[in-house]
């Protein structure tokens, strides 16, 4: 529900509105291969944020003149379903969705080995089923896992989490009120094995020292998410391993 007045984001006992500690993340659920028709797919849930991603390709590019001679083109669509928010969202792509599609595309381009498939296209679709802050990172991670499910070679899986500042306290994995009323919001996505940054944005203000602390906090969260992602991929093969 929309609130008109800023609520207190950090309670007297030091916990957040949803009862989490400042460095605690929301529960995560990952499922791969949820769609039959796509080459690869994944469902990623982080608290109340739910995103489904599907990958098609690499395939021949049509129209031909848009293909690149030395690498694969990525066509990325980030979209929020009309029922993902508390008020119905118009399904037409908004300025925000077009921008996020671009940001996610650039993050994925750094991970996928696009030069292996010249003159082709890889289509990536992400649908936000339920939005509760952090949809861009959850979408990015869902896309990264869908790519792994499709068997498209990439440098590393992408894991990401947002850090922010709420009532002067650095908090990990923002929720909706913190996103809306907090002083800063910084989504960070890394390729953890390579120790490379895939996406970093900052909205609000932080001191240089806070920024460093925030990045460190994000890294800790990302490490946990990264392991969960790998576990989710391996789970599929563990089922038959026993025999």
């Amino acid at each position: 529900m929309m609130q008109v007045q800023k609520p207190r984001l950090i309670l007297d006992n030091g916990l957040r509105l949803d009862g989490r500690r400042p460095d605690e993340m929301r529960p995560i659920k990952i499922e791969l291969g949820v769609l039959k028709n796509a080459d690869g797919s994944a469902l990623f849930e982080m608290g109340n944020t739910k995103v489904i991603a599907a990958v098609y390709g690499p395939k021949e590019m049509h129209p031909r003149h848009l293909a690149l001679p030395d690498r694969a083109v990525l066509r990325v669509r980030y979209h929020m379903t009309p029922f993902s928010t508390d008020k119905r969202k118009n399904p037409a792509p908004t300025r925000r969705e077009i921008e996020l599609s671009k940001v996610i595309r650039e993050a994925l381009e750094s991970a996928i080995l696009v030069d292996l498939f010249p003159r082709t296209v890889i289509d990536i679709f992400m649908e936000v089923l339920q939005a509760d802050a952090g949809t861009r990172l959850v979408s990015l991670m869902a896309a990264s896992l869908a790519l792994a499910d499709a068997g498209i070679p990439m440098r590393d899986l992408i894991a990401g989490v947002a850090v922010g500042k709420a009532d002067g306290v650095l908090v990990l994995d923002l929720n909706e009120p913190e996103d809306m009323w907090g002083e800063a919001d910084m989504p960070v996505a890394l390729m953890p094995s390579l120790k490379q940054v895939a996406l970093l944005q900052l909205n609000g203000s932080m001191t240089p020292q806070e920024f460093r602390q925030a990045l460190e906090l994000a890294q800790k969260g990302i490490e946990i998410i990264y392991n969960l992602e790998k576990e989710a991929i391996r789970k599929k093969y563990a089922e038959y391993k026993e025999e």
Partner: protein
Amino acid sequence: MSTINKIYFEDRSIVTPGDLIAEGDFQIPWSPYYYKFGNKYYSTVTGLLEVKGNAFEVIPLEGNRYFPKVGDTVIGLVEDIEIYGWILDIKAPYSAYLPALSVLGRPVTPGEDLRRYLNIGDYVVAKIETFDRTINPILSVKGKNLGRITNGVVIDIPPVKVPRVIGKNRSMLDMLTEETGCEIIVAQNGRILANCANKAVEEALITAIRIIERESHIKGLTEKIRKFLREKLGENKNDASSKAQTNT
């Protein structure tokens, strides 16, 4: 050797994209399934890691596309007809071209309808003659056992499972042929052509291939499939003979 080569995984373990496989300097052939960054080797796909002494190989477990390689035998599906040849789907990110010259053994006479030789929906066993990053694959049907498929059934599997259906030293393929008596051609692009004696054997073979596809990462799969086929065909062989009796 100044650097010490170290492999961090055991043989036959599952690797995911970004897993640090090994460190050092390995004399291994290039593959899209690993990625070298400095002296560190990372996996790029979900796959099975095979360690052989001082070398390793990542065998992918996911992937619906075939990446063409010159010399590979493939089974193509005719998608379109042009004046001098056919466009074939070979489950690759690129469509393949089969020139009529290769099928007819002579140039096309102007006004000739190529539909008479190969029509849309036909399957063709062919070889990849040329392919590189700049041009689409060009096929050829000059050679033994190549050409239009006239009988049998074509089974689609993900191209990454092809090595498993063939097996080490063709062990799996030999076993399948031996147990079912079918004539089997496994094309590199994930299409299998099978010519079987009767429908029951054909169905058993398809079920067996589906099991291989699903459980390709398991050890001792060949023996499991052999057992499965013996069980399945033990009863069906009787069926076939009884049917044959009623027919006569």
